[in-house]
């Protein structure tokens, strides 16, 4: 394009300022994308939730247990295909900062209900054959450099503080990019055997697969009616609703993250808008010359917008690059506090759209001012 040289020359006239503006763009965009990634991670549960899965918890709270004996009654409700159950183990691996979710699982039905979390058959067989066996998500194993055959001690926090020993016999992978690969699974039988008498026969929640997602409301109602007025009333909901409620326990994270994102966006807009305004003001007489020799108002607006968009694109792409490099490290630094921090392509696209939008806005007002310059007045400013 024949005007590219003019745009580049104008951009490069104040190199330090250009670098600083691009740098602020890159850092702000990185922060913006990172916030989006964290927000996404909080919502990941809802995203990966399957429409044909329901979760049954104690009506009082998820920390209150439900009897194991409910399983058969739930299975008898028409439309229910499979039922599995989980307990929250809540142990500590070596030290507290090494947090990761540990679930006691029902080996019989786990793979039927959570078919997207794939364990190789030989490893699954080894798990079934070893009461102390455990299976870790691929990211969890990678985080602690575990390999199959490792013996993993986990100190309980709910069951007397003793250290339980597990044999890592398998590693599962999710078949979706956003699948949570940070869980640690242990055997129900081993758990049931070791917990105090008062906790035996109690599970944390049921997860069931149903034949038809359209039947979810009916089945949920049927389950909750079945156990109404019992000592352990239930609350059955779609897995996505369950995941959303789980996120709510952290407070209004969404609003917090969006608020920070908006502040970042406006700060970036002010910084780049101010830079563009100064840049245009500095060359008022030059812009007047362009107009005098026949460049239209729209051409002048185009030059200013093109400069702003170029800065935005370069800064934005650098910010994306920074995100690609830094997000895995930051995810590791969060020590598994969030299920799975993934920099999805849609985040990068979102970041780029924000960059272009910010660039456009930052150049628009100075560009309009340049467009409406009165040539005779502007030429006097040398």
């Amino acid at each position: 394009m024949k005007f590219a040289r003019i745009i580049w020359a104008n951009l490069l006239r104040k190199k330090v300022r250009l670098l600083l503006t691009i740098g602020s763009f890159a850092v702000a965009l990185f922060l913006f994308v990172f916030l989006a990634v964290v927000r996404d991670a909080f919502n990941r549960g809802a995203d990966v939730a399957s429409a044909d899965r329901l979760v049954v918890i104690n009506r009082t709270s998820i920390i209150n247990p439900i009897p194991l004996s409910y399983r058969d009654k739930i299975l008898r409700i028409p439309g229910v295909k499979a039922v599995t159950h989980n307990n929250w183990f809540g142990g500590i691996y070596i030290e507290e900062k090494n947090f990761f979710p540990q679930f006691v699982i029902d080996p019989e039905n786990q793979r039927t209900v959570f078919s997207e979390l794939v364990v190789p058959d030989d490893q699954w067989k080894a798990f079934l054959n070893d009461r102390q066996g455990a299976i870790a998500g691929a990211k969890l194993a990678e985080r602690f450099h575990w390999k199959i055959g490792d013996r993993i001690p986990i100190k309980t926090t709910f069951y007397g503080g003793a250290s339980w020993e597990f044999n890592l016999v398998g590693i599962y992978h999710g078949n979706k990019p956003q699948s949570d690969e940070t869980q640690f699974w242990l055997q129900w039988d081993y758990f049931e055997e070791k917990v105090p008498e008062r906790d035996k026969g109690r599970i944390g929640w049921y997860v069931l697969r149903i034949d038809n997602p359209d039947d979810a409301p009916r089945i949920s109602q049927a389950i909750d009616d079945e156990f109404a007025n019992s000592p352990f009333e239930t609350k059955t909901q779609a897995e996505s609703a369950f995941a959303a409620n789980w996120v709510k326990q952290f407070g209004n994270i969404q609003r917090l993250i969006v608020s920070i994102g908006v502040v970042v966006f406006f700060t970036l807009l002010l910084v780049t808008g101010n830079t563009m305004a100064i840049s245009v003001r500095e060359r008022t007489s030059e812009l007047a010359v362009f107009k005098a020799i026949g460049y239209s108002d729209r051409s002048v607006l185009f030059f200013v917008l093109a400069e702003a968009l170029t800065i935005a694109l370069i800064g934005g792409l650098l910010g994306m690059l920074l995100a690609i490099v830094a997000v895995p490290g930051l995810a590791a630094a969060l020590n598994g506090l969030l299920p799975s921090i993934v920099l999805a392509p849609k985040m990068l696209a979102f970041g780029l759209v924000v960059a272009i939008f910010t660039g456009f806005l930052s150049g628009f007002l100075p560009g309009m001012n340049a467009m409406h310059l009165r040539i005779v007045n502007a030429l006097r400013r040398v």
Binding site: I6, L12, R13, S285, K291, I293, I375, V376, L379
Partner: protein, 247 residues
């Protein structure tokens, strides 16, 4: 032929009739130009003189379509420019007017070549054609060997010559020069004036120039004085004053 009494026929290049320009400053109206008439034929070299604030630059701005009059008409080569829309006026300027400013007004981040090429970027000329035009313009002003220099690497006189090259590169109908030597030493001023004379003499350009300097004005064919908002004919010189002869 240059007339200031409105008696010129329709055959001239520029016809100005009853031109008024009034500014409003602090509630007070300032009548800069009042009923001004002017006829200029093609190939003329006209100098406008007058004290500061007499309206010389205002007149030049009106003739160049950079400003609009309060009243009156300006006809250039058959185009009545006072009623043109801003967009049409911009296109008209690109086609018909070459501007030469006192402070050169080159774009500092572009080389001499790129500065001269600017008006041609608005045309449909190919890159090779643009290069040929730019090289021709730079050779006319004697700066072919400086085409890759930035303005800061040129002397004031050279910068003004680049401005002249930029003004002539698209072969405009006429050139408007606002104090073209106002920021130059005498030697450079002579060079620039010799160049303008050559453009008129050899390239048949029409040049309208504002200047404070009587020696510079003397190089023009016609000197017009602005007095109380109207033009008064001054001394006329034959087209034979040698370059640098009155410096």
């Amino acid at each position: 032929m240059v007339n200031v009494d409105g008696s010129g026929g329709k055959g001239g290049l520029i016809q100005v009739r009853d031109l008024d320009k009034t500014y409003r400053r602090g509630g007070e109206e300032i009548h800069v130009l009042q009923g001004l008439n002017l006829d200029v034929s093609a190939g003329e070299f006209v100098a406008f003189m007058g004290p500061s604030g007499s309206g010389k630059t205002t007149l030049l701005n009106l003739l160049g379509g950079l400003d609009v009059p309060t009243r009156g008409s300006i006809n250039v080569a058959g185009d009545e420019i006072t009623h043109m829309s801003a967009g049409k006026l911009t296109e008209w300027r690109a086609r018909h007017v070459g501007f030469i400013f006192q402070m050169y007004n080159l774009i500092p981040v572009l080389t001499a070549f790129q500065n001269v090429e600017l008006p041609l970027l608005l045309t449909k000329l190919s890159k090779a054609e643009r290069r040929t035009h730019v090289e021709t313009a730079l050779s006319i002003v004697g700066l072919t060997d400086r085409m890759n220099h930035f303005p800061r690497q040129l002397s004031g006189g050279q910068e003004q010559r680049v401005t002249i090259a930029r003004a002539i590169v698209s072969d405009p109908t006429f050139l408007l020069c606002d104090e073209p030597t106002g920021d130059l030493d005498r030697k450079s001023a002579d060079e620039v004036m010799a160049l303008l004379e050559e453009l008129v003499g050899s390239h048949h350009k029409t040049v309208l120039m504002v200047t404070h300097d009587p020696l510079v004005a003397a190089r023009a064919h016609t000197i017009l004085h602005l007095d109380k908002g109207v033009l008064v004919e001054g001394s006329k010189f034959p087209n034979s004053i040698p370059a640098g002869g009155v410096a």
